[in-house]
């Protein structure tokens, strides 16, 4: 069955030889394995493959502070002993070591995500894939959790040039704190993260109570989970929440971070998801038929990462992959079964039904707050020929809303201001004390 969607896939052969250092769980070689597996399943015949440009420092500085980008550019393993203060400031060192070609690596994966966003913007494709991207922990002025440059934020900023609202979905086992933080104050990006929370699990943020602030209030959604969540509970929760989110928020584009550390048997993860369960989420998002940017993310058992992302590339191409992995250079990594599927995990599922339903209720409750207080940004994307007949800066924001939205809003007018006011008063008291 041929795919109706046009797919752009980004890969640069140079990422495979990046090495974080001995005993570091992050192994970019997994990207090499993924790409190889994708090719051995002959998926390349159904898509276009691009080599991303290396993002320029000035592009990276769209989000990151210029001094941080400059420092990343300058630092090398040989000179790092001279900059111990800066290393500490930018949180480089243990989790985020300085290695050779660090900056080039950042440029490649960030360039991939930016290019992917641009291709989507120019409607050159419907789905863009960059497995090298998805480094969601990186902050504006510092590295964090193996992430240096936050390509997701850069990609979303790029998408925001064409789309009023962008939805970010994160199924990495770790909280997507960098992206959430970057867009904490805005309603133009809704971030939804499903992650393990509690027991001081990295990065420590991501409670259901974190919902955003200011204009961004209720536009950050967190789904904190406990160890051992399995396919049925995860996919059910995912589908319920995401369908409600999309219905409410009506994003112009979706960015999906597919961190593979939420799979069973991950070196750093603690969930029980099978590759099928993980891919089910990807399938679900694809079916929403919204321009989609798919990135990688975590994933520290590299054979499984390659399996997962190859299978998900197949899902995005509407191609079912047979379970027997074709012969390829890396076949030995897929021993002993040489098969695509992995057994389910056996970690005890600590997510009780009541816990999950509480979380779900709370998330849906927060979503309702958006419905009652429609945002400035809720209008449809105007067609290309639309030229606004007033100067944006001189307009009273409230009037502007009305001009833009009077025809399109289906919300009741009487609730509009009420909701808006509630919004302001409730800053310090999210819905958690219900």
């Amino acid at each position: 069955m041929p795919s109706k969607d046009r797919i752009s896939y980004f890969y640069d052969g140079d990422v495979g030889s990046v090495y974080f250092g001995p005993n570091h769980p992050m192994k970019p070689h997994r990207l090499c394995m993924t790409h190889h597996l994708v090719l051995s399943y002959e998926l390349h015949k159904k898509m276009e493959i691009y080599r991303p440009h290396k993002a320029y420092p000035v592009e990276l500085a769209q989000f990151h502070s210029a001094d941080y980008v400059e420092f990343l550019h300058r630092i090398t393993p040989d000179t790092q002993h001279l900059f111990s203060n800066e290393l500490a400031t930018y949180n480089l060192g243990e989790d985020c070591p300085v290695f050779e070609n660090l900056f080039e690596f950042c440029q490649i994966y960030a360039g991939g995500t930016i290019d992917a966003a641009r291709r989507l913007n120019n409607q050159l494709c419907d789905i863009a894939i960059n497995w090298a991207g998805g480094l969601h922990h990186a902050k504006k002025c510092e590295a964090s959790g193996f992430c240096y440059i936050n390509d997701l934020v850069l990609g979303i900023l790029e998408l925001l040039k064409y789309h009023a609202r962008v939805l970010y979905i994160d199924i990495d086992v770790h909280h997507g704190d960098g992206v959430e933080e970057a867009f904490y104050f805005t309603d133009r990006v809704m971030t939804v993260s499903f992650h393990k929370f509690g027991d001081l699990f990295f990065p420590g943020t991501g409670d259901v109570k974190e919902t955003g602030e200011k204009e961004g209030k209720f536009y950050a959604i967190n789904v904190p989970l406990k160890d051992g969540i399995d396919d049925p509970s995860f996919t059910r929760l995912f589908k319920t929440i995401i369908s409600k989110v999309v219905e409410t928020y009506q994003p112009g584009a979706i960015v999906l971070q597919c961190g593979a550390d939420s799979l069973a048997a991950d070196r750093l993860g603690c969930f029980n998801l099978s590759i099928d369960g993980h891919a089910e989420c990807v399938r679900f998002v694809k079916k929403l038929n919204v321009p989609l940017l798919v990135t990688g993310g975590g994933g520290y058992t590299k054979e499984n990462v390659a399996r997962c992302w190859a299978l998900e590339t197949g899902v995005l191409l509407d191609t079912e992959l047979p379970n027997e992995i074709p012969e390829n250079e890396y076949i030995q990594y897929f021993a002993p079964d040489f098969s695509l599927k992995i057994p389910n995990g056996h970690i005890e599922n600590l997510n009780s039904k009541s816990y999950l339903s509480t979380i779900k209720m709370q998330v849906l409750e927060n979503l309702r707050c958006i419905q009652h207080a429609p945002s400035v940004q809720m209008q449809e994307v105007p067609p290309d020929f639309y030229i606004p007949d007033f100067d944006e800066d001189e307009q009273n924001p409230d009037e502007r809303i009305d001009q833009h939205t009077q025809d399109k809003h289906i919300q009741r007018d009487d609730e509009y201001y009420e909701g808006d006011n509630d919004n302001d008063n409730d800053h310090d008291h999210p819905m958690d004390d219900v």
């Binding site: 051995s40 691009y50 933080e181 990295f202 160890d227 603690c270």
Partner: protein, 615 residues
Amino acid sequence: MAGWSTLINGSGLDCVENVGAFQGNGYCLTLDNLENGGIHDSNDFEVKQKRLFYNVVSVYLEQSSSRGLVRPLPVMLGDGQQLDLYKLFCSVKERGGYSLVSENGLWATVVEELGLDVEFLASVKLIFDKYLNELEGWFWKNYVGEKGCDDSSKFLPFELEKEFRDLLSVGPKSKQKREGHVNLESNRMRKYMDVGIQENISNFLDTKNEHLICEDVQNTHIDDDEKVFKDDENDALILDSRVDKKEFDQRKRKREVLSGMLNWVRLIAEHPLDPSFGLIDPSKWKEYEGQEFWGQALRAREALLMKRQVKSHSEPSPSQKLKMHPAMYEDDLVHTHQSTGKLRSSERLPPFSKSHLGSGCNSCSASTSKLPSSINIKADSSPMEQPPEMVNLLAVNPLVNPSDDDPTEKQVSVGPFHQAEVPIWTGVVSESNSKWLGTQIWPLKDRERNSMIEGDPIGKGRQEACNCQFQGSVECVRFHVAESRMKLKLELGSAFYYWRFDCMGEEVSLKWTTEEEKRFKDMMRSNSPLNGSFRDNLLKYFPRKTKRDLVSYYFNAFLIQLRSYQNRVTPKSIDSDSDESEFGSFSDGFGHEAIRVPDFDFLECYENKQCTDLE
């Protein structure tokens, strides 16, 4: 946090100013008495706790005998000697519990501490296992997650249980041990707090920062002493010149007593319904009479607790009903998780129970892991100055809420240094940047593609059968890998090189001489990659190779050869989690030579040659 610390500083100053007055009404004397009485107290304490302990044990054993497990008391060793269960329990607890003791092979020291011969090691361990292990488990459960309370109170009366918790939190021994660290630790803690204020507090959960700060604490330790000494000089202006070192100490203590009290009040305020914080025996109130605040706080606390206890008798689990925090819905498994959760490398923070267990650097590590919660830091810094009960109750604190309920959990950082600048949506598509969209590699633009491959179905899997003589043999697999590689190469054309497929797989090893390969393997075998200088050495040994070559060889040739060896020889024990640990299985057990199956070298050459032939 910052506000809170000024509060402390403020109170510290107040305290200093009032010193004269306090001295007048014998406050220092009270402290002295406390201190001198300390030893005396601790003996009493021990006896009391011991009695309590045996009460609990006998209740517990009764309980288990009703389930058919008979455990006679007193406990006799092989030679008729009586074993003091309390001592045993304490010394094991001090070393971090049964599993840690077993893991670290500390049973010998436990036996020694009990004054027994090493020959009894096994039986002591067995006795612990039979008599106390479950009790210990119960203790951890109650400690680590409060939720266990309800179960446990099934066989323990409430008061007994509470007292028992006190007992468990600080045995007299560990208290003595801590005493020695008082000054050191309080200094450290002060510095720690200072550092904490300077740094962005929200980043503290990060492992890396923890280390940095620990270092900081140690490095600046001297500084800190000086600072304290400066304080002392300033104070001397207020006080008369008789102030000697000893009095200085007392003053410092006093200050800490006061701040400790503030911490404690704060703690209670934040956990108003938690019985595990600070119920003080009314008879002890006398000791605090000089300190009005203490008295008031204690009375207020007492009143609160009375209320709470009345409630707790009428309702089975009031805390669950009062709070709607999602964590409350969690099943009763916090404890199990804590113990089964693997220690997962650096991205995962140290499990909580561990930080509690250390004795020497206890407070340091415990608070690093919980730094954002300022109360914990200070709770830790103050217990040494408190009378026994207070010590217990404050020390319990870090254990009570392992994570979820913590009101001071990590927050999202906000401010100009954290958020992205998102322009307001204007309704117009902003600049269209079509300059950088990536370079198309595939499909090939110049139609150099070989059309004969087209016929293959997309996404087919591995073929079931082939014409090889020995299906599934090393030769067979190698042949098909080479075959598919050739096909790919023909098909991909220039893309093959863009994607670095020319440096992928065992192809990489072709660029290495046999001699080099052997040297690389030898080095891998003899060196632990943990060693930082290892890679530098590698570079020295292979002057003509770049780091990239080495990494490439490592992933494409070395690891694959290792895996294929493991797949055949030890398929059950492949550790796919860590590439590095595979060296372990390499060097021990089967030994490196085992990889050289008789015709291994020959095969390699043969297949590789075939590969090049086809090219």
